[in-house]
């Protein structure tokens, strides 16, 4: 018996129509387009709340701006307040009474000294201190400036000879360095392991005795005062 499929032609045509590559490809592209559309719709739905959040943040920032500006002004003002408050407090607490300095000065002067000039002033002293090493390993220095209260006085005395005048100079420097009276107003320093007044010989000159006249020594002493 011969099997003949009488519908073969019809089935072939149906198969070719159903599995037409052009049709399949067209459908695939339509599906791709649809997929893209769905993806975009999802993105849009997600994007909307984000955009609303941005809008709300922008509004929030705008309303916060005056407060923020005010806060920035306060923050900028604060250091000046702090510094000025500390300054005023320190000034009131550490007020150096020059009248007291004059009183103490009078009480510590040896009777053989004639004071020609006395000054009390403030001066900035710069110190060079070793700092950290630089990139090449070379030592660096830091300059530290501090202001100090100084008392400077110029006085004269008479001695029989020039060597005695020089001896008297050294004696006076030692005297002021160890003077207990002056210690009430002078800053302390350590010398040879002992605490003494911060006294420095700033200048000195002496004349030769001529005839009956004695040798006149002029001494310039600088005392660093307590803060």
């Amino acid at each position: 018996m011969l099997h003949i499929n009488l519908f073969h032609e019809i089935q072939r045509l149906e198969f070719e129509r159903k599995y037409d590559p052009v049709r399949i490809m067209g459908l695939a592209f339509v599906l791709g387009l649809l997929g893209l559309g769905v993806w975009t719709a999802i993105l849009y739905l997600n994007y909307k709340p984000a955009r609303e959040a941005v809008d709300s943040l922008q509004k929030q920032i705008k309303t916060m701006e005056p407060q923020h500006k005010e806060a920035e002004m306060r923050l900028a003002e604060l250091p000046a307040y702090q510094k000025e408050f500390v300054f005023l407090k320190k000034r009131a607490q550490e007020k150096s009474l020059q009248s007291r300095n004059l009183e103490v000065f009078k009480g510590c002067m040896p009777t053989n000294l004639f004071v020609k000039k006395l000054s009390i002033f403030r001066e900035v002293i710069s110190e060079k201190l070793p700092g950290p090493k630089d990139k090449k390993g070379h030592p660096t220095f830091i300059t530290r400036s501090t202001s100090v209260n100084l008392m400077n006085f110029e006085a004269t005395y008479s001695e029989a000879t020039k060597p005695k005048s020089l001896e008297q100079r050294d004696h006076l420097v030692e005297f002021f360095a160890h003077s207990e009276n002056l210690g009430g107003i002078a800053a302390e320093t350590t010398k040879d392991g002992k605490v003494v007044n911060t006294v420095k010989l700033a200048g000195f000159s002496t004349t030769e005795p001529v005839g009956n006249e004695l040798a006149v020594g002029t001494i310039d002493i600088r005392v660093e005062l307590k803060k």
Binding site: L36, T40, V54, L75, E84, F121
Partner: protein, 189 residues
């Protein structure tokens, strides 16, 4: 299954047209939303960071305001002590009154800028003023000391910045000349 040449051409055309439609749709239709979303995300992040920082500054500002109020409260007694009139007028009058009390006469008194050294770390006052005077006065050592003590006691914020005494000579060896520089913290004009 073999395709006829006609079919192959149609298929190629469909592929080209389909791909073109997809690419064009993506670039001109859908890409913007992707990019806009990215930008919005970035903006949201940046704005939320900014809002956070602003909030922190506002909180810090509130703390600063409280500190300033505290400083003002502590400075009130200082401000209350300040003369009601202009400081230089008050200072000039006080200097004259103290000198007269000690039978002394001021010479060459004039306003002078206080030394920057007196301000130390402050550099310049923002909420106060600083007024200075220089003058000379002549008298014996005791008188000068008493005068200075009274002047220094006239106001807690009055400071003798510097002074120099030149010993008297000639006919009046006990009458010394004292040059004084004073300054005083005042209210801001």
């Amino acid at each position: 299954m073999t395709l006829s040449n006609e079919k192959k051409k149609t298929l190629a055309l469909v592929v080209i047209v389909g791909l073109t439609v997809l690419i064009v749709s993506y670039y001109f239709g859908f890409r913007w939303i992707n990019e806009a979303r990215d930008q919005t995300d970035k903006k949201e992040h940046a704005f939320s960071e900014k809002a956070g920082m602003m909030n922190k500054t506002i909180e810090d500002g509130k703390v600063a305001q409280k500190k300033i109020e505290l400083f003002e409260m502590r400075l009130k007694p200082v401000r209350d002590q300040m003369p009601p009139e202009r400081a230089e007028t008050w200072l000039a009058r006080t200097m004259d009154a103290v000198a007269t009390r000690h039978q002394l006469k001021l010479k060459g008194s004039r306003l002078s800028d206080p030394d920057a050294i007196m301000l130390g770390e402050v550099k310049a006052f923002k909420h106060f003023g600083l007024v200075g005077y220089v003058f000379n006065v002549q008298g014996n050592y005791f008188q000068l000391g008493e005068f200075l003590a009274d002047l220094e006691g006239a106001h807690p914020l009055l400071v003798v910045e510097s002074m120099t005494i030149n010993a008297g000579a000639g006919g009046a060896p006990n009458i010394h000349d004292m040059a004084v520089k004073i300054n005083m913290v005042t209210n801001k004009d």
